[in-house]
């Protein structure tokens, strides 16, 4: 059975992060926004978000922030994910299944190459 961790563990995480200088709010930071309105949730956005969080945890990425937002108004494209890297304009992806989310994280967020087949046509 897993054991419940304590705040001491968090203190240690913080100290380690400080030592490794992993805390930065400088440009080049990566923001990922997941649409979590009713249509998004119904289309599976929670699992999409979980896939993104799992990726960050597994690949130990320390400069990515993740946000949820309400309904974006493009219901037929849900689940919708936006990727904002530094000063670049946001890229909006549609029908982002956990599998597509993984591709976006690997190819776009880490590799810098937009996953064009999943981009919502503007």
């Amino acid at each position: 059975m897993p054991t419940v961790k304590s705040l001491e563990d968090l203190k240690r995480i913080r100290e380690e992060a400080l030592q490794k200088r992993e805390i930065k709010s400088a440009p080049g930071s990566i923001q990922i926004i997941v649409g979590m309105g009713t249509p998004g949730i119904a289309a599976g956005a929670r699992d999409t978000l979980k896939a993104i969080l799992n990726f960050i945890e597994e690949k130990h990425q320390t400069n990515i922030t993740v946000r949820q937002t309400g309904n974006i108004g493009m219901d037929s494209w849900e689940p919708i994910v936006q990727v904002v890297i530094g000063e670049s304009p946001a890229v909006t992806y549609g029908k982002v299944t956990p599998f597509v989310a993984q591709q976006i994280m690997e190819q776009h967020v880490l590799g810098g190459k937009v996953v064009s087949e999943a981009v919502v046509p503007g």
Binding site: K5, T65, D75
Partner: protein, 187 residues
């Protein structure tokens, strides 16, 4: 959405949109009383009486981008089919309380679903909101409550973001283990 945890996520998003600072989600599985009760309490902008009435009407939504909102009416319908119901009490400027309950053993009751996944997403996805989650399992011989308040976590972390990989692992394990351990009392 055939999962209570997904409906809670949907309701929580409404609370976030209402500008809430603190949002409390409580779930109780009570085998003695044969009820499953979930509630979400916020300190957002609230609604007047007329708006509350409209919220449970399938053809009402406060959103302006589309006209039809189905989250709450569908949940209410599902609860009523399982000898339960959904109530909303709200005060403008103070906040809103949504409560939903089902007969736990009802054959048509939707599953509780993945609460840790819902809670993890909310905590990380809305870091400026103060989240409190409570899960109670009341079995026939024993009961247990798991409570998670993200305030001490944030105070300890200070400028380390919740989306830091080690923090994600901490939150994921804490939520999962806490609910798993409490749920053991149902057996």
């Amino acid at each position: 959405m055939r999962e209570i945890a997904l409906h809670l996520l949907d309701l929580a998003e409404n609370s976030v949109s209402a500008g809430s600072k603190t949002i409390e989600i409580a779930v109780c599985e009570d085998l003695c009383a044969d009820r499953l009760i979930a509630s979400i309490k916020d300190d957002g902008r609230g609604m007047d009486e007329e708006t509350v009435k409209k919220v449970v009407d399938p053809f009402y939504t406060s959103r302006t981008t589309r006209r039809v909102g189905l989250g709450i009416p569908l949940l209410k319908g599902a609860a009523e089919e399982c000898d339960g119901g959904l109530t909303i009490s709200s005060t403008p400027g103070k906040g809103t309380l949504v409560q939903v309950d089902f007969r736990h053993s009802h054959i048509d009751r939707m599953p509780l679903g993945d609460l840790p996944k819902t809670f993890l997403g909310l905590t990380v996805g809305h870091p400026t909101v103060h989240w409190i989650f409570r899960y109670t399992a009341r079995g026939l011989v024993a009961e247990d409550t798991f409570e998670f308040d993200d305030q001490p976590v944030k105070e300890t972390l200070q400028d380390v973001p919740l989306s830091h990989p080690d923090v994600l692992a901490y939150l994921r394990e804490t939520l999962k283990a806490g609910i798993f351990d409490a749920r053991d009392k149902l057996n």
